[in-house]
C-alpha cells in the first residue's frame, strides 16, 4: 500500500480516533489503527473492543492494501511534521514508511489480519436527528450516569425509542439523581427499542456530534448502536441487561414550585459548598416566600450563607442536597430560569428548565 494525503485531513482523521485507541492496552493491536485503501476508497479504523470507528480519508492512492500503524505515534508525527503532504507506504514485514518534506520515519506496524473485525452493522433500523440535538441530549443526561457502578446497567445512557409516543427518550441515573431528556423521533420504527449505551461511547458520540453540522443517523442493531455522519461510522457495544424502571422514582405530587435564575442558583450552591463537609457535600436549602437560602456548615471550618431571590409562595420548606449533584445538573441545563418542583424534605425534587417540557432531572434530597 502506498498513498499520499494532505497533512490537514490526516490530522483531522487521526484526531477522531485518539479517544478510542488505547495507549497502554494489554492487547497491542488495539493501540494501532488500520489504514486501508481498496475499491471503496481509503479508510481509517480504530477500536478498543467497545467502540469501533471507521472514517473515510481523502488520499491519492498509488497502490492499494492495508496496514496497522501505531495510532498515537502516527498522530504525534503528523502533528509535528513540516509538510503539507504526507506519504505513507507499507514495506515488507509490516514496516511503514512515513515521509513528508525532508522528514522520513520508519515505524514498526503489525500484521493487518490481527486487527479485530469490524462488527456487522447491517439490518438495523435507523433514526436521524440533528447533530446539535444529539449532543444536547447526551450533554443533559451523561453527568447523571454511574461510573464503575456494580449495577452495570447504570454505567450508561438508556436510549429508549418508542414509536407509539413518537419520542426518543434518553435517561441517565446513578441511583441518586436522574436526568431524562427527550426529542421527537424523526423516523418511524417498527418496534420499541431500549438499549443502554456505555458512558465512554456516549461521550465519544457527543464529540462526533460536536464535530459536524449535518444530521446524524442512529441505527439500532441487536448488539450495538451505530452513529453515522459525514461518512464516519461509530459503533458501540451495548450494556447487557435491563435498565431500572426509572419512571417509578419520579414523584407525582410535587406541587410546590420554586422558580429562580439558573446562574444565580448555580453560583449560590457553588459558594455555599465551599465550606461544606467534603465527604457528604451537603448543602441546605431553606425556602420561604420569595427567598431561597443555601447554607452549609462545617464544625472544622465555619459556615456559609447564600440567599437568592426566587419566585415561591407557599409553606416554608427546608431540604438538603448533594452540592456536587446540584452543581452538575444546573451546569448541564441551559435555560435562563429553572423551576424546582418540591413536596417535602424527604421527597425527591424535580428540576426543569422553565418552559422546556423535553428535559427534567430528579434529585434525591439528603437529610440535613
Amino acid at each position: 500500500m502506498k498513498l499520499t494525503v494532505s497533512r490537514e485531513s490526516l490530522l483531522k482523521g487521526l484526531q477522531v480516533i485518539q479517544g478510542i485507541v488505547e495507549a497502554k492496552s494489554t492487547i497491542s493491536i488495539l493501540s494501532h489503527m488500520l489504514l486501508s485503501s481498496g475499491e471503496n476508497g481509503t479508510t481509517i479504523s480504530a477500536t478498543d473492543l467497545e467502540i469501533a470507528v471507521r472514517e473515510p480519508l481523502e488520499a491519492a492512492v498509488h497502490s492499494t492494501g492495508s496496514a496497522c500503524i501505531p495510532a498515537k505515534k502516527l498522530y504525534e508525527i503528523v502533528r509535528e511534521i513540516n509538510s503539507q503532504e504526507i506519504t505513507i507506504e507499507q514495506l515488507e514485514n509490516n514496516w511503514i514508511n512515513i515521509t513528508g518534506g525532508r522528514s522520513k520515519f520508519r515505524l514498526i506496524g503489525l500484521p493487518e489480519k490481527d486487527f479485530p473485525q469490524f462488527p456487522d452493522i447491517s439490518g438495523g433500523e435507523s433514526i436521524t436527528m440533528a447533530a446539535s440535538d444529539l449532543s444536547d441530549i447526551i450533554n443533559k443526561t451523561l453527568y447523571a450516569t454511574g461510573d464503575n457502578d456494580a449495577r452495570y446497567s447504570l454505567n450508561g445512557l438508556l436510549f429508549h425509542a418508542n414509536p407509539s409516543t413518537g419520542r426518543l427518550v434518553v435517561v441517565g441515573t446513578d441511583g441518586h439523581r436522574l436526568a431524562v431528556a427527550s426529542k421527537d423521533l424523526a423516523a418511524s420504527l417498527s418496534e420499541e427499542r431500549k438499549v443502554i449505551l456505555p458512558r465512554k461511547a456516549a461521550s465519544e458520540a457527543r464529540k462526533l456530534a460536536d464535530s459536524t453540522a449535518n444530521d446524524i443517523t442512529i441505527s439500532f442493531n441487536n448488539n450495538n448502536l451505530v452513529f453515522s455522519v459525514d461518512g464516519i461510522v461509530m459503533i458501540s457495544r451495548l450494556i447487557e441487561g435491563s435498565y431500572p424502571n426509572y419512571e417509578q422514582v419520579i414523584p407525582r405530587n410535587n406541587e410546590k414550585r420554586m422558580k429562580g435564575t439558573r446562574t444565580e442558583l448555580l453560583g449560590a450552591v457553588k459558594r455555599a459548598a465551599l465550606v461544606g463537609r467534603e465527604k457528604t457535600f451537603t448543602v441546605r436549602l431553606e425556602i420561604s416566600e420569595g427567598l431561597a437560602v443555601f447554607s452549609s456548615n462545617n464544625p472544622e471550618l465555619g459556615e456559609a450563607n447564600e440567599p437568592v431571590e426566587v419566585e415561591y409562595s407557599g409553606e416554608p420548606l427546608t431540604l438538603g442536597f448533594n452540592a456536587r449533584h446540584t452543581v452538575d445538573l444546573l451546569q448541564a441545563m441551559n435555560g435562563e430560569f429553572v423551576t424546582m418542583e418540591l413536596q417535602d424534605s424527604l421527597i425527591p425534587a424535580i428540576i426543569r428548565e422553565t418552559g422546556n417540557t423535553d428535559y427534567f432531572c430528579v434529585l434525591m434530597p439528603m437529610r440535613t
Binding site: 477500536t47 479485530p116 473485525q117 462488527p119 456494580a150 441487536n222 448488539n223 451495548l238 447487557e240
Partner: protein
Amino acid sequence: MPLASIIGQDRTIALLRGILRRNIAAHCYLFSGEGGIGKTQAAHEFAKALLCREIPDDACGVCANCERIDAGIHPDVRTIGGEERQIKIDEIRAIDESLGKKAFEGGRKVVVVRQADTMNSAAANAFLKTLEEPPPESVIILVSSRPELLPDTIRSRAQNVRFYPVPRGEIVRMLEPEFRGEADIRSRLASGRASLAVDPELLKRRDEFLDGLRRAVRGEAEADQIWGGREEIDLWMDQAIAWLRDIVAWQASGSSALLVNADREREIQAAASRSNIKAVSSLLSEIYRVKELLRFNLNKQITFQYILMRLAPVLR
C-alpha cells in the same frame, strides 16, 4: 480437532463435547485437577469450540474465530491469570465490566481464568456478584490445580469439571512415534502429565537436578553454586520427592516396576539398603509439607538449603 486431541481425558472431553453438542453451556465451570494434565489447554480449546461456527462440538482451529482466539486477539474472549503473581481486583473488575456488555461480535463472551486459585481474596469477592448473576451469553472457565484454595463461595457457583492424571499406558502410546527408546522412562517421569512427557529437556533436566542434589549433599558442590534462582525451587522439590518416593517404593516392594527414576534402579537400590523405610517416608512427608508451605512467602533459598540438609542422610 483440538478438543478431541487432548490426551488421556476422554471422559472429561466427552462431557465437554456433549455440552457443546446440546448447546447447554453453564455460565461457570471449574476445570480442576493436577497441574500439567491439560486443563488449561482444554479451557482454551473449549473457549474456541464455544465460538467456532464450523464444528458444533469442537473447535475447527482454522476459522477466523479460532485463529483469533489462538492469537489472543478475539474481542469476546479474555484470558487472565497464569502468571507468577496474584490475580488482582482490577483485573476482575475489568472482566466484570466487559461481561456486562453485549458481545462485540454478537456471539458468546468467554472468560478463562488460569490458576484461578491465585486470585487474592478481594479479587475473588469482586467476582462473586458476576458469578452469582452472570450476564446472558457469558461463559466463565476457572482453571485450577488447587481448587481447595478457592473460596467456597466461588466453588459453589461453578460446575466442577474434573481432569485426571493421564494413565501411563496412554502416555507411552502417545510418545512411541517420536521418542522411541525413551517412551517408558519419559512416561514414568511425567507422572500423568502429558505436557511434561513431551518436553524435550525432561531427561536432561532430571539428570541435572538429581545430580546437583547429590553433589551438594555429598559436599562436592556448594549449595550456592547449584542454586539457580527462586523459580527453580519447585523443580528441586519435585526431584527430591521423586527420589525419596522411589527409595520407599523399592524398600516396600523390592521391585522396579513402580519406580519413577527406573533408569537409575541401581542407585535407588543402594540408597534403599542404607536407610530404613520409616525414616525415608517421614522425610518424604516433611518435604511435602514444606512444598505446601511454599505458597506462603518462604525464603526459597533458605528452604532449599534446609531441604539439602535434611536429605543428606539419605542421599549421601
